[in-house]
Amino acid sequence: MPKQNRRIRIKWHIIVFLAPAVLVYTAVMVYPLFNTMRLSLFTETDQQRVFVGLQNFRTLFGDDVWSDQFWNALGNNLQFFLIHMLVQNPIGIALAAILSHPKLRFASFYRSAIFIPTILSFVIVGFAWKLILSPIWGIAPGMLDAVGLKSLYAPWLGKEAYALTTLSLVSVWQFVGIPMMLIYAALLSIPDEILEAAEVEGITGQSAFWKIKLPLILPSIGIISILTFVANFNAFDLIYAAQGALAGPDFSTDILGTFMYRSFFGFQLQLGDPHMGSAIASAMFAIILVGVSIYLFGIQSRMRRYQF
């Protein structure tokens, strides 16, 4: 290359192309993220912001009132996540496996219909289920009665023992469409030659699914798991829409999102404290980072990928 061409010249068009996205992303997403973590090291006394180091975290984990709530919310959040992993993802995979059958008729109808709950807002989903499960309206007890199981009915959302499980299942109902679609796409991308080769070897039907298809879609199952993890540990809307910010009954459905909202924004008698809210947000950030790192370095990098 001739020398004068290598002179450093500012390429303005690159800057112009990049600037808007980088500016908005940095100012509204990255900077607040770090600022939130910085704010967690401060507190407010006499309307002045005072640096207190890790004091907020000591309160969060050491003070009984705060730490009880934090561990309760974290435990509930784990349960929320586990129910999604154990119910939502297997159902999603099963539906996708059935749908991907090549000669199935009406496949696109089923696919679109099953995806409908996913597009509805949490407000609609939360209230709709609240009404359906309500003892006042009597749809749920009525339907159980019709199959002779009326004794099983309880006002699930109002009972501490059942409320969290019920809401987790409502959320599963809403989001089953996402694993279904992603796994469906993964199943479709398996080349026919592989399946035909298996068929020649006498591997068809059920065993073709377990022995051939499932190992090939493992990377997609990994992606679904991490998406579920991030979405669950940052969930808020459904609990808020169905149970309010107090996540009743008696905080039995409180998860990290609702806990952070109450702490930072205040609710009813509790005054909002942005610095404690930031501390909780930082804890959530740490949890999500750990989860994502485990996925990226522990699972994804070890998973075998097949190139077709």
Binding site: A21, Y25, V28, Y31, I98, S121, F127, W137, A185
Partner: protein
């Protein structure tokens, strides 16, 4: 012959399972919508029966339209969603073009920096976002929401669009350069029209989460005149808890626009997911 029978049995079982799950998926929506057209008595007496001449009533809808400002909320939601999508697509495509087209120092690093936001939810930074919006006076304006949703949507948009822009042929761009087109014209005239399908996918992925979000409207724009439809219906239902006609009608009205969007865009959405745009 037994194999054929086995096959038919399998097909039967497959349809059975799918029909069952479709019913589970649609049942709540169905119950809400049919009961919104009934009198209060009929709602409680026969919740699973379609409305007939006797039980038909629009009283719930009358209450909703009288009390809540649903058209204002709807308008706010449309503005927020459309403007956010516009910025996500424009800024996202520009950045994706820069990353895909030019070799410059820090290219990979910039790509990684922008991709970080795919996995990290923007909600974590809410406390500081609220502070920022208060300082800039954007609280209780639609701009606060538009900025947040744009920032939230950009990482995935840049990621998906740059994958597609790498596939646009170099010959075409170079031919443009020889004809004396500026880099800006090459982008807007030659490249953008070619990645239109990918832009549609990005738009559809972002549209529904923005439309349905409750968290940021609740925190950044709770004032009456800037409420979105999602927040508006949440507040309305909270106030009218005991008026079942009004609650059911409000829910049905909130379902309507999303279903409309879904009917229009479902093919695009499903094609987007199944073409592996999110791998």
């Amino acid at each position: 012959m037994s194999a054929a029978r086995q096959n038919r049995l399998n097909t039967f079982a497959a349809h059975g399972a799918l029909i069952l799950y479709t019913l589970i998926a649609l049942f709540p929506v169905f119950v809400i919508v049919i009961n919104s057209f009934k009198t209060r008595k009929a709602i409680f007496r026969e919740p699973l029966v379609l409305p007939n001449a006797d039980s038909f009533s629009m009283i719930g809808y009358e209450t909703v339209l009288k009390q809540g400002d649903f058209f204002l909320y709807l308008q706010n939601s449309i503005i927020v969603t459309v403007v956010s999508l516009f910025f996500i697509l424009l800024f996202g495509a520009m950045a994706a073009f820069a990353l895909a087209e030019y070799r410059f120092k820090g290219n990979t690093l910039m790509g990684l920096y922008l991709a970080l936001g795919i996995m990290i939810p923007i909600r974590i930074g809410t406390v500081a976002i609220l502070e920022l919006m208060v300082q800039t006076g954007l609280v209780n304006t639609l701009w606060a929401l538009i900025l947040v949703y744009t920032a939230q949507g950009l990482p995935l948009a840049v990621f998906i669009l740059s994958e597609f822009m790498k596939q646009v042929s170099d010959d075409l761009k170079n031919a443009g350069r020889i004809d004396g087109l500026s880099e800006y014209r090459i982008f807007f005239r030659l490249v953008l029209p070619l990645v239109r399908p990918a832009m549609a996918t990005v738009a559809v992925f972002n549209m529904i989460p923005i439309w349905n979000d409750l968290w940021f409207p609740l925190i950044l724009a709770p004032a009456e005149e800037v409420k979105t439809l999602t927040l508006g219906s949440q507040v309305f239902i909270g106030q009218f808890v005991t008026d079942w006609n009004a609650v059911l009608s409000a829910l049905s009205l909130a379902i309507l626009p999303v279903m409309g969007l879904y009917v229009i865009f479902s093919r695009q959405l499903i094609r987007g997911i199944t073409s592996g745009a999110v791998k």
